[in-house]
């Protein structure tokens, strides 16, 4: 059974009473008994509930109240009056100020008309989306309600790309927290996965000191994120940090990376990658170590190149783990806060201010309503991204299987 199929979580569809074709009566009885104990294993009464309910219950209890409470917060305003806390309902005020009002330039950014490249991007995306929609409409397999959903989704997608282009690929546009966070997430994940996979592949080889390497590579993950932030602040200090002689030797004495928005973002991404690559590394390492080596060895002996064995044997085998890791990193990555906060306070200006950092600044000044509103916008965004990712991946994985 291929790993891909196994990982789809589907169980064998046999009822206890269903006869297996082509067996004798006695054999059928024996098989039926075997299958019913198999069935017992598959849906054993007590274990079925015992394994899952503690988890579900714990998470339900601890998540319901904070979830409802923070939704309530996001539509209210907090004030302290004589001896109590006032929560005044203000409707969508908080959301409105973030998307259209005073905080728009901080959250969405400064949006201007796109330049030619920007136009090109928008047009291409719009065309692709339209084509996908038309195809699904023509196929006739999709019901009307889903067509409507797809239409709306398509429009929203194009609108979203328009937003991004208006901030990044335009004259005088400036990305806000939303787009900065997206940059951090996607650049970060790409780097972290590439590095993590590469390092894991190297670390399973029979090289000297490999155990030393495997332990050392875990170290960045073990440092508390606040600590990593301060560590990088020290490291990137161009006047008294360790790179100072290098900086001066390159003639950059009077230049600093803290005043350039993209260099600042790069610094955050580098720090984030340094910190999280071990996460990808250790999970992939365990996955690679669990692989059955015989198939691979046979292929190599038969004359397949290493690259071929990697692409056709190793990659498909670790594909499920890969998709999980990337999903987890996407979800975690959107919450990035410590690195930009400690390195630059979200600066220069607001160039590295991620959404969670903006929520934190509001939280710290007890503007709990707006802080919760930012968190919920983040929730919506990431839920959409995660759902899209999961359905995309699921389709691909079953295709490969």
């Amino acid at each position: 059974m291929s790993p891909a199929l196994a990982s789809s979580g589907r169980s064998i569809d046999l009822e206890p009473d269903e006869p297996i074709p082509g067996r004798s009566a006695a054999g059928a009885r024996a098989t039926r008994r075997a299958i019913s104990s198999l069935g017992a294993w598959r849906s054993d009464g007590a274990a079925r509930w015992l394994f899952i309910w503690p988890t579900v219950l714990l998470i339900l209890v601890l998540s319901i109240f904070p979830l409802i409470a923070s939704v309530a917060l996001s539509v209210s305003r907090l004030a302290f009056s004589e001896g109590s806390v006032d929560l005044k309902f203000v409707g969508f005020n908080n959301y409105q100020s973030l998307l259209f009002g005073t905080e728009r330039t901080h959250f969405l950014g400064v949006l201007k008309a796109p330049n030619p490249i920007g136009w090109a991007i928008v047009i291409v995306v719009a065309a692709l989306t339209a084509r996908a929609f038309v195809r699904s409409m023509r196929s006739g397999r999709v019901r009307a309600i889903f067509l409507a959903i797809r239409l709306i989704t398509g429009v929203l997608l194009v609108g979203f790309v328009w937003l991004i282009v208006g901030a990044l690929a335009s004259d005088g546009g400036r990305p806000g927290a939303l787009i900065v966070t997206l940059t951090f997430v996607f650049a970060g994940i790409t780097l972290q996965y590439a590095l993590g996979l590469g390092l894991a592949m190297l670390a399973v080889q029979q090289v000297p000191f490999r155990r030393f390497f495997r332990v050392v590579f875990l170290i960045p993950l073990t440092i508390t994120p606040v600590g990593v932030g301060y560590m990088f602040l020290m490291m990137t200090d161009t006047s008294k940090g360790p790179i100072e002689p290098l900086w001066i030797a390159l003639g950059l004495r009077n230049f600093t990376w803290v005043t350039d928005p993209w260099l600042a973002r790069a610094a955050v991404i580098i720090g984030d990658t340094w910190q999280w690559t071990p996460f990808v590394f250790v999970v992939l390492l365990a996955a690679l170590e669990s692989l059955d080596q015989e198939v691979r060895e046979a292929a190599l002996v038969d004359g397949a190149s290493r690259w071929q064995s990697f692409v056709h044997i190793t990659m498909p085998a670790i594909l499920p783990v890969t998709t999980t890791i990337i999903l987890i990193r996407i979800i975690e990555g959107f919450k990035i806060i410590d690195m930009p906060n400690i390195l630059l306070g979200g600066g220069p200006g607001t160039a590295t201010q991620s959404m969670t950092l903006q929520a934190y600044i509001d939280w710290n000044t007890l503007n709990l309503g707006r802080s919760a509103a930012i968190a919920y916008l983040l929730l919506i965004l990431v839920s959409v991204v995660a759902t899209a990712y999961v359905s995309f991946v699921r389709r691909r994985v079953t295709e490969i299987a």
Partner: protein, 341 residues
């Protein structure tokens, strides 16, 4: 001495490729270790030496001093030891519990089939919300909870049966991981209120429970993949032989998935060990943990690099030691033994 880069089997890399691999590994090791080295060196400096510029080698570039170490370990003494023990207790306890519960749930999601009905879920949320609203308008908590529970049971038996649309395992899994999407900042104050109501503020128990809940989704998602990649035949043949689920899990599944379990344990341990925001809000005097001490080194006078370096270094020591001990379990030796046995 035999060539350490020699080829050991037919499928192994060629010696030049091995040297190349070694060099790359060494390069990344330097990237990882240099900042740690810098932390170490900074912990031996005086504030004035830190401000003056980069000094790299003790005794050669600058005169090292034990001031920062003495300050953290001796002068602060108990103020360091107490959060440290808290971190150890909370980290280990919550990771072990999360691993046990999460691995069980992951196995269940991979091998059993669940069909939670949408209607029941909706009812549950509705009753939960009503209980919440009831407490807000003044009803005492136990009564509101009991009333909601009763209403849920009754309604589930009557109305609930009419909804047949059901979700599946992957939906449950998605719900679990979606718990991690909301940034903690949005929920810390409600959590503060929640724990205050049950009188568990500033306690290690509150931290443990919260960390277990927040880290369970990670355990489940990671272990799901490891369990799913196990060949079913082993478990099936054992089931046909009459083994119970518990026996199968204990004797077959767990030993084979040790690499996955160890990797997951290390990850979850690290998450709990280093967590900052929840600890910040839920604790004050008694249950403080180490990350708070690290962040607190950022004084109004600027970050105290020397003291902070000491704190960071002593924080990572136990985790690194644990990684050294557990790393050997992330190898394939066990798997081969189990399969062929």
């Amino acid at each position: 001495m035999r060539n350490p880069f020699r080829r050991r089997s037919a499928a192994d890399l060629s010696p030049p490729a091995k040297v190349g691999a070694f060099v790359l590994l060494l390069a990344w090791a330097v990237v990882v270790l240099f900042p740690i080295y810098w932390l170490l060196v900074t912990s031996f400096k005086t504030p004035y030496q830190v401000d003056k510029g980069p000094f790299y080698i003790p005794f050669v570039d600058f005169q090292p001093t034990l001031d920062a170490w003495r300050y953290i370990l001796v002068e602060l003494g108990n103020d360091t030891l107490h959060p440290y023990t808290n971190t150890v207790i909370v980290g280990l306890t919550s990771s072990i519990i999360a691993l046990i519960l999460g691995a069980a749930a992951a196995y269940a999601l991979v091998r059993f089939t669940y069909r939670p009905r949408v209607g029941i879920i909706g009812l549950f949320i509705g009753c939960g919300a009503s209980a919440f609203v009831a407490t807000i308008v003044g009803a005492p908590l136990p009564i509101a909870l009991a009333g909601a529970a009763g209403a849920f049971v009754v309604l589930a038996q009557t109305i609930g049966r009419r909804f047949s649309r059901a979700l599946g395992n992957s939906d449950i899994a998605f719900w679990l991981i979606s718990q991690r999407i909301l940034p903690p900042i949005a929920v810390v104050i409600p959590m503060y209120v929640l724990f205050q109501q049950v009188g568990l503020l500033d306690s290690l128990a509150a931290l443990v429970v919260t960390y277990v809940a927040t880290n369970l989704p990670i355990v489940i998602w990671l272990m799901r993949d490891y369990f799913a990649s196990l060949p079913r035949e082993l478990e099936e043949s054992a089931a046909v032989d009459g083994a119970s689920v518990y026996r199968i899990v204990r004797s077959i599944v767990l030993p084979i998935s040790v690499p996955g379990l160890v990797a997951t344990f290390l990850i979850v341990l690290v998450f709990a060990w280093n967590e900052f925001l929840i600890a910040l809000v839920l604790t004050s005097a008694h249950a403080q943990t180490m990350p708070l001490q690290v962040a607190a080194q950022n004084a109004t006078r600027g970050p105290q690099w020397w003291a902070m370096s000491v704190l960071i270094l002593i924080m990572i020591v136990p985790v690194v030691l644990m990684a050294i001990v557990l790393e050997r379990y992330i190898t394939r030796g066990l798997l081969i033994g189990a399969l062929k046995g």
